[in-house]
Structures are given as structure tokens and as C-alpha cells.
């Protein structure tokens, strides 16, 4: 089987890093963000709380994808993204 061992090894580093970050991110959501009560109003406050928590989750997701993006570009593409020159 003609595997590209270098690519698999680099992707393994990327996947394991992203997996670890993802678990930490979900941990922050479950342990810190989840129990937060920003509004005590039982009706509308519930939706406000949900919206704020969704925004925090969105920011964490974007940060996660940004780190993923940087890793792939550093490991596989040397120059700026406009050039996308192979290593």
C-alpha cells in the first residue's frame, strides 16, 4: 500500500491537537458556560441565556477552526496563503 507516511504523520498531529482542543472547549462549555445564569427571568431570560451561550460556543468554534487552519498551512504550505506554495 503506497501510503504517504509524512502526510499521515502530520495529519495525525493536527487531528490529535484538534481533538484535545475540542474536548477542552466542550469542557469549558459544560463546566463554566452551561451553569451560568445571566438572566433570572423564567420566560424571555431563558432565550437570552441560550443566545449568549450560543455566541460563546460560536467564538470557541471559530478559534478552534483558526488553529486548525494555521496548523495545515504551517505543516503543508510554506508561503502565504495567496501563493499556497507546496513545501
Amino acid at each position: 500500500m503506497g501510503l504517504n507516511h509524512r502526510a499521515v504523520a502530520l495529519q495525525l498531529i493536527i487531528f490529535v491537537t484538534q481533538w484535545g482542543l475540542m474536548i477542552i472547549g466542550f469542557g469549558i462549555l459544560a463546566a463554566v458556560v452551561g451553569p451560568l445564569r445571566i438572566q433570572s427571568d423564567p420566560s424571555l431570560g431563558r432565550y437570552f441565556d441560550a443566545a449568549v451561550k450560543a455566541m460563546i460556543a460560536l467564538v470557541l468554534s471559530i478559534s478552534w477552526l483558526f488553529i486548525w487552519d494555521r496548523q495545515v498551512r504551517v505543516y503543508f504550505y510554506r508561503k502565504r496563503e495567496d501563493i499556497a506554495e507546496p513545501v
Binding site: G2, V8, W19, F26, A30, A31, V33, Y47, P86
Partner: protein, 339 residues
Amino acid sequence: MLPSGWEVTTAVLLAIISFPVSLVLTRFFMQVNARRGIFGIDVHKLSKPRIPEMCGAAIPVTLILLSSIYVLIGGGNSIMMLAFSLVVGSAAVVGAVDDRLKMRGIYKPLLTLLCGLPIVALGLLFPNQVYNPTLQVPIFGSFHLPVIYPLSIPVAISVTSNTTNMLDPLNGTMAGGVSIISAALLIGVLITAPAPSAVFLYACLLFSALGFFYFNRYPSRAFAGNVGQLSVGAALGALAILSRTEIASIVAMFPNIQNSFFFLSKIKRFTEHRALTAKPTKLLDDGRLASSSDPKAPLTLVRTLLVGRPAKESEIVSTIFALFLVSAALALITMILIG
């Protein structure tokens, strides 16, 4: 009432039938579609062979058929099976329409949003029988999402179906990748919480994908088409929600996520591969594939794996399967950590 171990064994044994069913149906679609002139060109071969398209329809047909039989013999949660079948069926219809009419790129994500609605509707009608809005997180416990969870279901189905659709550029990558993902999640479900319905659906997806893979593997004799790709992706998304394997499913789909994210971040719009002016790879005179030197070309997973090292199509397919094995192993660890 039958003991749980026996129920799980019955579920797996029935699901194994989906392999020959999918195999026969794929053969059937190959013959019918070839007669009707439904072909795709295998652009990564020097000879540019014409391959029967839309044969992936065998997978959703097998999944819906076997789910119906499972409910009829009294084996599973009928509401859950109905939700699964509606999601898979509607995604297959969207894919078939796209295969025939060649819709603009934006319509597929929009229409597949609607495919998640059966789970939301049935979940509201039958609370706690379809989905559970408490997300289980590895190590850190769980958190309740009564508002966000149902709202995110259509998005989840749209994302999984379209990301699966995008990672089928080479022979057998979609069917092989989905087989690896569903095998890992099936093992995870069997180890952690072997609910018969979840075991049955994951096993069904595994064996029906393998049945299609037999004809789709390198060198392909059948192409899945959007009908197969979207429905299989929707099946993965639906199963993640119905069997409470959301986070493990995200991990298992890491190769798909990377491919779609880098495609969208470069192109900055939803578009079809056929509409791209700058292709991510090029075919060399010796039949090997190489990374494109066009700066406008998207940084797809295949292009990334070809950086600085042209390779045969079969080698790239093997490398992609190795990546799926890595992500599947991480998904399995995730499920064990959740417990």
C-alpha cells in the same frame, strides 16, 4: 421481553442482510442507469472512462427498507426509525434532484436544512423518544441545551450531508470513509450503551456502505452521485443525534471537516466542483495526480496530501483511509471517555 444481549445480536444479524441487499441494488442501478445514459466521467484516469452515476441510491433504499423490516418484526423504536428514514429519504430526494437538474451550489445546503425537520417535529410530538437535548461531554459530564439543541438539528444534518458530499473526489473515498466511521461508532455504541436501535442503524449503514463500496472501490465501476453522498451524510448526522454520539461523530468526521473548511475558506462561497475555474489537482502524463500550482485553487484534503509528492490515485485513496482510521480511533476513545 427479550434480553438486551439477544436484542442486540438480532439487530446486528438483521443489519448484515443490508450488505447483499445493497450489493444487488447497486448492480441493478448500474445496469438501469447505464441503459438510460446516466454516466459520469472518471476525470482522474488518463482514459477518462464513463462510469454509471447515481448508483449510490442503493444505500438509502437499503437503509429505509431494512429499517421498515426491523420495525415490522418489532425490533426497534418505531418513532426513531421513522425519523431516520424520513431524514435519509428526503436527503436522497434532494441529491437525486441535484443529479438530474444540476442545481446551483447554494441550494444543496439550504434544501438539506429541511431534511433535519422530521427529527425536530417528531421530537416535539414525542418528547424523549427521538432526541435528548442533554449533550454528553467527555470527562466534564454533560450540559442541558433545551433551546439550542433542537435549533441546531437542521444545521447538523445539512453540515454532515454536504461535508460527506464534498469528500468523494476519488474512487471509493466516500463509501470507504463512511464504512470506517460507522464501524468505529458501532463498536463504540456496543462497548458503551448498546441500545438495539442504534446498534441496528449503525450496522445497517456500515454494511450497506460496504455493499456499495464493492463496486465503487478503485477502479470504480459505479459512482454514488449526490443521491448517495447526501443521503449517507444525512444518515450519519441523524444517527449522531438519535444515538447520542454527537461529539464522537464530529471527531470521526475530522477528514471531512478539514476538506470542507479549507474548500470554503478559499472559495468563500457554496459552489459545485464542476463550477470551479481553478481545480485543486491536475493529472500528469504518467497517470499520477499532482497538487495544483494555481493560487486560486482550493486547499482540499486531496491537494494537501499531494503537496510536493505526486501520487497514484490508489495511493491517495489509501492515505485518506488511513486518516479516517486515525479519526475513527479518536472517536472511539471519545465514546469511551463519555462512558
